[in-house]
Amino acid sequence: IKAYQNRTPERLMENTQDGNLGDWFKITVPYGIKYDKTWLMNSIQSHCSVPFTPVDFHYVKHLAQFFVQDASAASALKDINYKIFDEENQKIPIFVNTSAVPYSMCNKLEPEKMEQLKLTISKRYDVSQKALDLHKLRFDPDLLGHDIIIILNRRNCMTAILQTIKKNIPELLSLNLCKNKLCQLDGLSDIIQIAPTIKTLNLSKNELKSARELDKIKGLKLEELWLQGNPLCNTFPNQPTYVSAIRKYFPNLSRLDGQDLPPPTVTGIVDMDIIKPCKESFKGPETLKNLIFQFLLHYYLIYDSEDRESLLSAYHEEACFSLTVPYNSEDPALSNLCEYLKDNRNMKNLKDSDLRFQLLKHTKCEIVNSLCVFPKTQHDLNSYVVDLWAHTEIMLCFSVSGVFKEVIEVERKSQGSVRAFTRTFILSSGSNSSMCIVNDILTVGNARTEETQSAFSIPVPTPTFSSLSTLSQEQQEMVQIFSIQSGISLQWSQKCLQDNEWNYIKAAQVFATFKTQGKIPEEAFKQIS
């Protein structure tokens, strides 16, 4: 019975892992250096019909290599040669050869040595800081006393360290590998999976010759890195090039070699994976911002009214207007954009220069005539995102995007289609001092579901009144102007402005919305004299 118990499955597994059973195979991906390790291994694992445990993944020159011990996995890996496509749509070659036992397997540290290493590592671990100090590990007296030589350039040693970290230190924040004569980081690359929490890494005073070594650990979200005292530091002409080269591997880096880094020239733009949008951008003074908001407010109040002809005065005599529809002929949902499609001046499809010329509306009369033909609309000013992206003393160039609803005239209560639009205006003050539109390019498409849902979702105001006399001079003026422009009484104007925190634009927008929805009570329009 005892003999039988010795052959429990666990025992068999252990034998397999020890490399006592089965042949080894070396898997090679030529030009594997192009690929991120995690991406490559996940792709291979998901295509391979037999699950396998890769051993000693590493890059040599342009190759990526690893080992497997299972003959059936090796054969399955052979089958996926040229079956995986990379991001550039290239097929990835995967070569399989028989191999000797991989280095880290035949040189695995004996259990007693692993135990001693674990003790040494725990001595060097600062629990409060979650920091592991492995500097000059080769000369650690405890290890030398037990005749253990840890050379971190050796894959088996690095693997032993990483295994110990994996088992005993779950939330490592800081790792010091200073003065370990490291000349490559192949063995360290597994740390991305083993200790993804690391924020500080000290690699100073090693033998790293090229910044490209950092490619092997670039998945780490490092905030602080020490590299001084490596030959690679001398490969850069100056400090800024050095900083920007290292930042490419670790975009979140805020300290390098003990010095605080200036914020990247373009803060908040690229988090590498996340490109954070700002709601609006004005690189001009506040007065321009107000000017543009006033313009948009007035323009769209008229545009959404029954009287689009009044826009005539907004355009320069020789202004240009054109319209495009991001039209995909395979998309049936766009067939409802037919009112716009006839004017679609998409040069991607429209090659004829005469047609291109015809569809460019030139002169203000022609422009307003075509604007009048478009369906009646109601724009949601709250959805607007505005970029002022060029301006001089005599011109303003800005883009606005947002959503609008088509108003169905016959049955006013029913919901029209919600569209998304982007419009670029160029305004010029030219010879006479008043600003007018000289260029106008509009793009109209269907709004996404989220846009449709979030649009026009302003709660109905509940009227409360307060006396005009408590208002500031400026507020009183706003109330009067609002009353004149909207045609509602002073009290209702004040109410509307108050409900919208004295934001004139917002108030006007809310008013326009309720007006079209018929939610403004009749009495509001009665002027109290």
Partner: protein, 140 residues
């Protein structure tokens, strides 16, 4: 812009825009390092609301962007009225399409350019004076 000449302006703008769009997005996807050369020294980019100015900053910015695959669906352009940019031939170009930045999902975008003509002895070179980029999520 005398109206007799207007078609000439429009044709010129269209040719410039078409050629530019081809060059710009190929350079963006395949030769990113050269992209900032398409900008004037003083050019400004407003990228999702964040402004980047000057060729050096632009080149750093583009280096930081993950590699891209742009697909262009819509191109439109207009000659900018002479009154807005006196004695400086300028074209407004609008582009819509989709872009896949490595490690990000494919997204729709909208991009606007102001191109300005730089006359050289042999030919006319169009450079970017201003650029405005935004992710736009049109119905897909």
């Amino acid at each position: 812009m005398a109206s007799v000449d207007f078609k000439t302006y429009v044709d010129q703008a269209c040719r410039a825009a078409e050629e530019f769009v081809n060059v710009y997005y190929t350079t963006m996807d395949k030769r990113r390092r050269l992209l900032s050369r398409l900008y004037m020294g003083t050019a400004t980019l407003v990228w999702n609301g964040n402004a980047v100015s000057g060729q050096e900053s632009l080149s750093e910015f583009f280096e930081m962007l993950p590699s891209s695959e742009f697909q262009i669906n819509v191109v439109d352009c207009q000659p900018v009225h002479d009154e807005a940019t006196p004695s400086q031939t300028t074209v407004l170009v609008v582009i819509c399409g989709t872009v896949k930045f490595e490690g990000n999902k494919q997204r729709d975008f909208n991009q606007n350019f102001l191109l300005t003509a730089q006359a050289s002895p042999s030919n006319t070179v169009w450079k970017i004076a201003s650029d405005c980029f935004r992710f736009q999520d049109w119905a897909s």
